[in-house]
Each structure stands twice: as C-alpha cells, then as structure tokens.
C-alpha cells in the first residue's frame, strides 16, 4: 500500500514540474560523468578531454536514460489511459461527422433511459425529505371490529395514541400522529380546496423538519396552522409577513405561524399537503369542522434500538390498552418502515415503471447496436492503420484498449448530451397537468443517483458495444490488410451486423405494436357511450359539511346556486349529483325486490347516485320508460328511484319494472322510470345495475355541480366560482374542469404509456432505419467490384437492384417476423391493460408491418441507387 502512495506522490510531482525533474536528472548524470572523468585522469593518467570522452562513452546515452527515467515514473494504466484518450480525441476530431452522429445516437438512448429513471427515482427511490428517514416507522394496529385506515396508515383513536406515546418512550425518541383532511382554505380573497393534515404537536419535531419562515407547533392554546411552501407562494403571494396572518380553514379563522420548507409536502411520496394544524389546541371532537378523533401514529426509533425490540414493545402496549369499545378486539401492532409509499401501492407502481424502463432500455439497445455497426464499419476502414501498428510491434491488447478508449470517449460525450436530453424530457413531464391532481408534488430534478445511473449506463453500453468492434478491428490478419484486400474480407462482420440490424427492426416493431395496441384500446375506451353526453359539460365539486351547514341551510345553498348558475349567460342547464359518473368513484348498496313472486333473483347489489330533478335533462340521459324526477318527489313523498335496464333485468326479468318496489338500506323504493344502460365507474366495465335517487329525498352535503353551457369551459368555471363565492366566500370549488377531460383522466396511465412507447417506437424505427442504411451502404461498397464485373458482363441495372433489394427484404423480413412474434407474446402479457382490443389486433400489426416496409424502402433507396450507378470501368480499376 505504501508503494502505491509513494508512486502516486512521485507521479504527481512528475506531472507538476516536469522541466525541473528533467533538469535535475541532467545535473545528476553530468555530475556522474565528471566524477568518472576525474577518476580516469587520476587512475589512468588520461588527458581531461580524453577522460571526459571515455567517461561519456562508458555512461551511455544521457538523453535515452533521461527518457527511461521519466518513463519509470508512470502510474502504469492511468498514464496509458490518458495517452489513449488524447489519441482518441484527435482521431474523433478528424472524423467530426461520425462523432456527431454517433454522439447524438447515444444521447437519444441514454437520455430516454435516464428520463424514465428520473421518474423512478422520484417515485420509488428518493427518501422522504426528512432527517434520517430510515428510523421512522408507522405503528399499524391489527384490530377486529371497528377499523379505520387511510392512505396515511391505520388509524386509532387519539386518546389511544396518547397512551402509546407515554408507554413507548424508551424505544421511540418521539411518537407523532397525523390524519389527512381536506380543507377549504380562504386566503387572499380566494377559497381553495387543499389536502392537509391534522397532526399531533410534535409532528415536525419527530420528522426533523425545520421551518422556512416562522415556527412550527409549540403548545399553542388556540388552533394555528403551518402552510406549505407551495401554498405560501401560490396563494399567499409569498408574503414575508405571513406569520400572524389569519386564514380561514373551513370557515374558521386560524392564525398562520410558519411555512414548511420548500419541497416538503408531508410523508407520502407524490402527495403534497398544503396545511398542517395541530390537534392539541382543538377541543376533543373539534377539528375545524371535522371530527379528528382517529389518527395514524408514527415514530422515530431511538438510536441503537433494534426495530424488532421496538416492535415487540409496541405490540405489548397494543394488547395492554383496553380498546375504546367492547366489541373491538386489538390483536397487537406492527411496525412498518415509513417509505413514503404504502406497500400495496408499491407493487403496481413498480410494475408500471418497470415496463417504461424496459421500453427505454430497448431504445438504448437499438441505439447502441447502431453505434456498434458504425464502429465495425470504421474498423474495417482503418484496417491499414491497425495493421501497420501491429506490424511495428504493438501488442494487440494495447490496440484493443486504445480503440475501446476511443469508443468510451464517444460514449462519454454522448452520455453527457444524453443527460441534457433527459433533463429536457423530465422538464416536459413536469409540465404535464393531470386534471384534479393539484395535490401532486413530485420532485423530478436529477440528483446523484440519476447522474450515477446515466454514467453507469453509458459506461456499460460503451464497453459492451465497443468491445466486439475493437476486437474485430484489431484482428491480426496482417497480410490481407496490408495488401489492401481488407475491404473485402469483412464477410463475418457483415453477417454479424445484419443480425443486429434485424434485431433492431424487431425491437422497433415490438415498441410500435405495443404503442399501437394502447392507442387502439384508448380509442375504444373513449368511443364507448357512457349513457350521457359529456361534451359541453363542466363539473365543479362542493362540500358544505366542513363549514357547518346543516340540511336546511345546505339545501337552500344548493338551490340558490343552481338557480343562479342557470341564469348565467350561455348556460343551457345546470344540475346536481353526488358523484361524477365514470370518474372512478361510486356508492353501492344492497338491494332486494320487495315484490315476491318475480322469477328472477331477489337479492343483488346496485350502484347508485343521488341527483336532482334537472339531472337527466342536463346530462341528456335517455329514459326508455317512465319519467324522471319532478317537484312531486319531495321530502315527505313516497321514496322513488329511476333505475337502469340492467337493474330492471336483474330484479324483474321479462316484465316492466315501473311501479315495482325494492328495498335499499332499509327504505322501500318505487321505480318510476328506467334509464338506458350506460357506464358508471369506468368506460370498460361490464353491465352494472344502477339506480338514480332524488336529491330532494336524500340530502348530501357533498355535491357536484354539472353545468352544460354553450361557450367555453373556462368561462363557465369562472362563472361558477363567482356564484359560489357570492353565496359563501369560504366554500371552495374542487375538481373544476370539463367533464370529458375528467373522464379522460381515468385513462391517463394508458394514454401516457401509449404516448411514451409510441415516441420511443418511432425513434427506435428511425434508428433502425439508419442501421439498415448503414449495412446496405457498406454492403454495396464492399461489392462494388463484383457489381462492376457483373455490369461489365452485361447484367442490367434491374438485376443489380435485385441484389440490393433481396438483401433488404431478407433483413426486413427477418426483423419483422421476429418482431411481430415477440410483440404477440408481450401483448398477451399486457392483455389486462388493453380493453376492447385483442392482443393480436390485425389492424395494428398490419400498420406496423407497413411502416417497416416503408422505412426499409427509404433506407435502401440511396445504396440501391449507388449500386445501379456503378460505373464498371471505375469499379474494376479501383481496388
């Protein structure tokens, strides 16, 4: 080891002051010669000039030994690497065109993969922006009976949490608790719906987060709030005097005491909380308009404490504390590491991202194969140079190393450009606005992990795809190379290249077919008739419960709102419903026929929605029998419902359901109308039983306004917001958007995958096309002589063309067949994601095959033209 250190030191010295070392060696050697000369004078009585001459002779070549001395100070491989790099750099600078094309190709491959990895990093790999996230654990109680859980974890009553806190002090340095809550925040005159959390007072302490402005909770006796950095910037104008300002949460005034640091949005990856309120200052049961009794606890292990020990302590505490009501049984508690993502979600997300990463990997593969092909071609062109070097005694290994270094240099350049491409890609991704996903907070910026990944990918592909060309180029086949017949003897490499180009084509086919299938399934999905007309409708969700509205006030509010909105210019109609159909959320209840004697099943379940009297007209829901709701179906009147065809078929097959009765949730309901079947949860669902219930008979504080207007969505939404604000400025409007967009957003994963895979597929096809061109151009160049001979012997242009075309056709066919088979296999795997489309959808496959033929034809045009234009005389004369 000390040897290495001294070598490095000596090398460093040699690097810093080479002239000084040179001069020192010079002086030392001159001293030696002088001493020897003096000795010769002394011992042999020579004359000084003669003595000096003999001494110099005995010494040998001073310059030569100085050079050897300098070489003795190398660090071996580092020196060689630098030398190779410098040489490689010069070679690349000379063939700038090749270098640029190759670097761009690599940039595309590396960029595509790194961009996806950035997303993977942000979603799965990046730890929470808190201190030492590895020591944070969720406490998950296992209970039977009453249970409550949310995305923040399993919840327990607040008092129970306090008992945990006291009893676990020896294993946890702090135990906090939280509960996600939606808030309607009034700040700067605008009511906004945000997601926040009610937390214990030590929430920020346990997480180890420091405030950006102001402070966090410190035992206040009145409710105070901490806002997120994003909220402060977006809705409080980044006011430096924000501390002490009062905002309204669910109509209650609350003082702001601090701003959370930038980038902190709570403990769930991707979810950005905007408000935190300490529960300790709230009276029991009070939660700023919401019950805050159940919370999800999490704690930080004391340093050095074994998680298993802490788990057993927590488990014991869980069993010891009596449950809050006798019917509940607590069977213990577990500790789950806090990773920002629930274990159940992780699987699905990992699979999805894995698929995207695999797609990018294919693009990288295609790009790298192109590079390898280009390098092989260059290797053949440089045969002479390499042969000369081999003849002069260079070791083959040395040449391979130098060629590899050249390739790596190229890859480093391309990789750096690739990182820029990835940055651009993630910038674009961040701009994607998911409807209704304002709570999304994902930091896609690159960090060490992403850069490390880019570097690793670049180095690995560089080595992998550079090795074979380097080995090929340095094959010690000197005689042929020097004779100049090297060009012709590339047969083996052409076969190899052809195989790889066919592989590229196959990969592109795979990508394009997959993308095509996704697109088709999207089309199918969007073309499905949902049973209502979403075009021209905007929706806006409201929730009056947190603001303390009772039924009377609530009904008055909604009635006024609908009237006012309907009176707005351009509005055709407005209605209320408790859910938006086909947005993924629905209520279901058990039903049973109240009229015995029907031959069908008497018990079933049905989804339902509460709507007002103008709903069917506004949404253009077709009624095939009976009527819709009217003013007659009021609060005291007999309970009625409008059911859909499937419902009718289920309960009363073969007869008219009008006038029949059924029971749901203890109420007996009469059927007054039948609606045409539609879609209720998702566009691709099976026929579902569905019932519409009148708002007048079932009040809900959370309703969504559906407005059909003649003019654009923005104007309608503006009007809606204005009217809501006029009625009550504290009430915020959520999920305000055009209905088609909301429906489309449920298909977002498919749309995203289709776009991404489609883009990658096209890029891959382009690169493969370049690969085909490369192989063909090379082939023609190789065969120039042969073509010349053929033409001289009377062959016509057509047969020469035939040569080239046959080549392309073979390549293309091989690639296409392989690709289509592969695509069919993969499509089978993805069958779950494709609805309404067979994994062997002929239209898609045919289209892709056509694209392949098109690209192949285009790529072969120029080489074919060159082949036909070969002048026999020229070809025969050249070598």
């Amino acid at each position: 080891m000390s040897g290495l250190f001294s070598r490095a030191r000596s090398y460093w010295r040699g690097l810093r002051r080479p002239e000084q070392l040179w001069a020192e060696m010079d002086e030392e050697m001159r001293f030696h010669i002088e001493m020897e000369a003096e000795r010769l004078v002394r011992e042999q009585g020579l004359e000084p000039p003669e003595a000096r001459r003999q001494a110099a002779l005995a010494f040998g070549g001073v310059e030569r030994y100085k050079e050897e001395g300098r070489d003795a100070r190398t660090l071996g491989w580092v020196d060689a690497l630098l030398q190779d790099s410098r040489y490689g750099g010069r070679v690349l600078a000379k063939s700038r065109g090749f270098a640029v094309v190759a670097a761009l190709t690599i940039a595309i491959g590396v960029g595509a993969t790194t961009a996806i990895f950035s997303v993977t990093n942000a979603v799965l790999l990046r730890p929470l922006p808190v201190s030492d996230p590895g020591s944070l654990f969720l406490v998950q109680e296992q209970r039977l009976g009453s249970m409550s859980s949310g995305s923040e974890g399993r919840r327990i009553p607040y008092d129970r949490y306090l008992e945990y806190r006291e009893s676990t002090e020896e294993v946890f340095s702090g135990l906090a608790a939280q509960r996600y809550t939606g808030f309607s925040v009034l700040a700067d005159g605008e009511a906004v719906a945000v997601l926040g959390a009610l937390t214990s007072g030590n929430y920020f302490e346990v997480l180890g987060v420091r405030p950006q402005v102001g402070r966090f909770f410190t035992g206040d006796d009145e409710p105070v709030a901490v806002v997120s950095h994003r909220f402060w910037r977006g809705h409080l104008s980044e006011d430096p005097e924000v501390v002490g300002r009062t905002i309204h949460l669910n109509s209650q005034p609350v003082r702001v005491v601090g701003v959370a640091p930038r980038g902190f949005g709570g403990t769930a990856t991707g979810v950005g909380l905007d408000v935190w309120v300490s529960m300790e200052a709230l009276a029991p049961g009070e939660g700023i308009g919401l019950p805050a009794s159940w919370v999800a606890p999490f704690g930080r292990l004391r340093p050095g404490v074994d998680p298993a020990l802490a788990a057993s302590v927590v488990d014991a505490v869980a069993r010891r504390i009596p449950p809050e009501e006798p019917r509940t049984r607590v069977e213990g508690a577990l500790l789950e590491p806090m990773t920002g993502m629930a274990g159940s979600q992780r699987g699905a997300i990992t699979a999805f991202l894995g698929m995207l990463l695999a797609t990018a990997g294919l693009v990288l593969f295609i790009a790298s194969v192109n590079i390898a092909g280009m390098l092989l071609a260059r290797g053949v062109a440089r045969r002479r140079e390499v042969a000369v070097r081999l003849a002069m005694g260079a070791a083959r290994g040395r040449i391979v190393r130098q060629l590899l270094t050249e390739t790596l240099l190229l890859f480093v350049l391309g990789g750096a450009a690739g990182i820029l491409v990835a940055l651009g890609g993630t910038w674009l991704l961040a701009r994607v606005r998911l409807p209704g996903a304002d709570i999304l907070m994902l930091d896609l910026s690159p960090d060490g992990r992403v850069l490390g990944f880019a570097l690793a990918v670049t180095a690995a592909t560089g080595l992998l795809f550079g090795l074979v060309p380097a080995l090929q180029a340095s094959r010690p086949d000197l005689a042929t190379a020097l004779k100049g017949g090297g060009i012709r003897s590339g047969a083996g490499s052409t076969r190899g290249r052809s195989f790889f180009v066919a592989a590229q084509l196959a990969m592109s086919v795979l990508l394009l077919v997959t993308a095509g299938l996704f697109v088709r399934s999207l089309q199918r999905g969007l073309a499905v008739d949902p049973g209502f007309d979403p075009d021209g409708v905007v929706v806006a969700a409201l929730n009056l419960a947190p603001h303390g509205y009772d039924e009377a006030r609530g009904r008055a509010f909604y009635q006024q709102l609908v009237e006012r909105v309907r009176a707005l210019p351009g509005v055709e109609n407005a209605a209320l419903a408790d859910v938006v159909l086909v947005s993924g959320n629905l209520y279901t209840g058990d039903i049973e026929a109240a009229d015995p004697g029907s031959s069908g099943p008497v018990e079933s379940s049905s989804a339902y929605s509460v709507v007002d009297t103008s709903y069917f007209e506004t949404m253009r829901v077709e009624l095939v029998a009976g009527r819709g709701f009217s003013a007659a179906d009021a609060a005291g009147a007999p309970a009625v419902a409008v059911i859909n065809e499937t419902f009718a078929r289920r309960l009363w097959p073969g007869g008219s359901p009008l006038g029949k009765r059924f029971r749901m949730a203890g109420t007996e309901i009469e059927v007054i109308g039948v609606a045409r079947d539609g879609r209720y949860v998702a566009l691709n669902e099976e026929p579902t039983a569905f019932a519409f219930l009148p708002f007048a008979q079932r009040y809900g504080a959370e309703m969504t306004l559906h407005v059909r207007a003649r003019h654009g969505a923005e104007a309608s939404l503006e009007g809606i917001r204005r009217e809501v604000s006029a009625l009550d400025r504290h009430v915020a409007v959520e999920q305000a958007m055009p209905l088609p967009a909301l429906i489309g957003s449920s298909l977002f994963p498919q749309r995203f995958a289709a776009s991404l895979i489609g883009i990658y597929g096209l890029v891959g096809l382009l690169l493969a096309g370049i690969g085909v061109y490369g192989v063909l151009a090379f082939y023609v160049a190789q065969r120039t002589r042969e073509i010349g001979i053929r033409m001289a012997l009377g062959a016509r242009a057509r047969s020469v063309l035939g040569l080239v075309v046959r080549r392309v056709a073979l390549l293309g066919a091989a690639g296409a067949v392989a690709g289509l088979l592969l695509a069919a296999a993969v499509a089978r795997l993805l069958e779950g994601l494709l609805f309404g489309v067979s994994p062997l959808d002929p239209a898609t496959y045919a289209l892709v095959a056509l694209a392949l033929v098109g690209v192949g034809g285009l790529a072969s045009y120029f080489p074919a033209r060159r082949a036909v234009r070969v002048d026999p005389m020229e070809a025969l004369r050249a070598e």
Partner: protein, 113 residues
C-alpha cells in the same frame, strides 16, 4: 580476475539496494561500490543505473536528497527507506535460497559468490 558475468534482469535493483544499505551514496558512489565489492566481475552500463534508481525511488524503496559531495559539488544522495530495507531483506533471503538450491542441483558445496 574471474570471468565477468552479465547481469541478470532484476538483479540490478538488488545490488543497488544492497550498496545503499551500507551507507548513503550518490549515483556514482553506488556504481563504485558495486564494482568494488564485486571485484570488477559485474559490468553494468553506467547510465542504466539511473533509471533503476528512479524506479526504486518511485516505488518508495529509497529516498533522495540533494547535498554536497566530497569535492564540494552538488549531488543527489540516496538512502534506504524502511520499506526498502524490508524489501532488501526479502530479496536477499530468496536469492540465497535460490543459490543454495542451484548449488545443490549442480552438486557443489556453496562457495563465496
């Protein structure tokens, strides 16, 4: 004078280390000492000494310092480092073992080399 022997590759380092181990020397002094001790039996190209010296220094077996020679001229003096002393011991041991083995094979008793 017994027949002069060609230096086997790699043994130059050993000779240099040994010479220096007997006292700090400059390059010329090392040459003299080698010739002196071997009774002139070993011939080395004088200049070839220096790359060997630099290599040994590079690997940390000897260290150098500019000083003044016996006739008041500036010269670079070399001395063994601890690592160098260690290395010398190891090399001498393995050489001795080798020499004994060869001698046994050749059937003669070990003589002074």
């Amino acid at each position: 004078m017994p027949g002069s022997a060609e230096l086997l590759p790699g043994t130059l380092d050993l000779l240099i280390l040994n010479s220096i181990s007997l006292g700090t020397l400059h390059g010329y002094g090392v040459l003299l000492r080698i010739e002196q001790i071997s009774g002139g039996a070993l011939h080395i190209q004088q200049g070839a000494l220096y790359p060997a010296l630099y290599r040994l220094e590079h690997h940390g077996r000897i260290e150098s310092e500019w000083g003044v020679s016996e006739n008041n001229r500036r010269a670079k003096f070399y001395r063994l480092t601890a690592a160098g002393r260690q290395r010398l011991g190891d090399e001498v041991a393995s050489w001795t073992r080798l020499a004994e083995a060869i001698a046994m094979v050749l059937g003669t008793t070990p003589q002074e080399i």
